[in-house]
């Protein structure tokens, strides 16, 4: 079962590579924002599966922080593109 967990974790990191390609050559800023948020969510999922692999529940905390602050990052980008941060 642990092999499945680490395999899913590796697959998430491979998806992060694909999303970095989209972040690099996204024609519009919306593509980049969606790619950035998806990278953050895939990182959180990778952390969850790595916590299941390593059998440490303390790692789940990091995934929780990552998800909540990726939402804050999306909010910051929306405000910046609307009228600037200050």
């Amino acid at each position: 079962m642990k092999d499945v967990y680490i395999a899913v974790c590796i697959a998430e990191v491979a998806i992060i590579g694909l999303l970095l390609v989209r972040l690099a050559r996204g024609p519009s800023v919306s593509d980049r924002i969606v790619a950035l948020n998806t990278i953050s969510i895939q990182c959180a999922l990778a952390v969850l599966f790595f916590a299941a692999f390593a059998d440490r529940s303390f790692y789940l905390d990091v995934g929780l922080w990552m998800v909540s602050f990726s939402y804050l990052g999306a909010l910051v980008w929306a405000r910046y593109l609307e009228r600037g941060l200050l």
Binding site: I10, L20, L23, G26, V29, S40, C43, F50, G73, V76
Partner: protein, 97 residues
């Protein structure tokens, strides 16, 4: 080579790719987004290497606070340029495109 090291090396490769993107992208928004992605992937690498408390700090600083600081700086510079009129708006648009 165990699967753990495969995961470790893949994280390092994603980190290296996003770091190259920060330097190589010509779009300022894209640069800051690549910096944010670098912070997130670095937090994942910290978890993989067994430092979850450091990963918490890295999420706050690298994925949120540092891009926000850069965005504030970029906004201020653009407002400054527009006020003084030293650099034409056409040229700034060419730079950002």
């Amino acid at each position: 080579m165990t699967t753990f090291w495969v995961l470790d090396l893949l994280c390092l490769a994603a980190l290296l790719a996003s770091a190259v993107l920060v330097v190589k992208l010509r779009n300022l928004n894209g640069c800051v987004m690549a910096l944010s992605a670098l912070g997130t992937v670095l937090a994942l690498l910290f978890v993989v290497l067994g430092a979850p408390d450091l990963a918490n700090a890295e999420i706050i600083v690298g994925a949120i606070a540092l891009p926000v600081l850069y965005l504030i700086a970029i906004g201020k510079i653009r407002a400054d340029v527009r006020d003084r009129g030293e650099l034409g708006e056409q040229e700034a648009r060419q730079d950002s495109a």
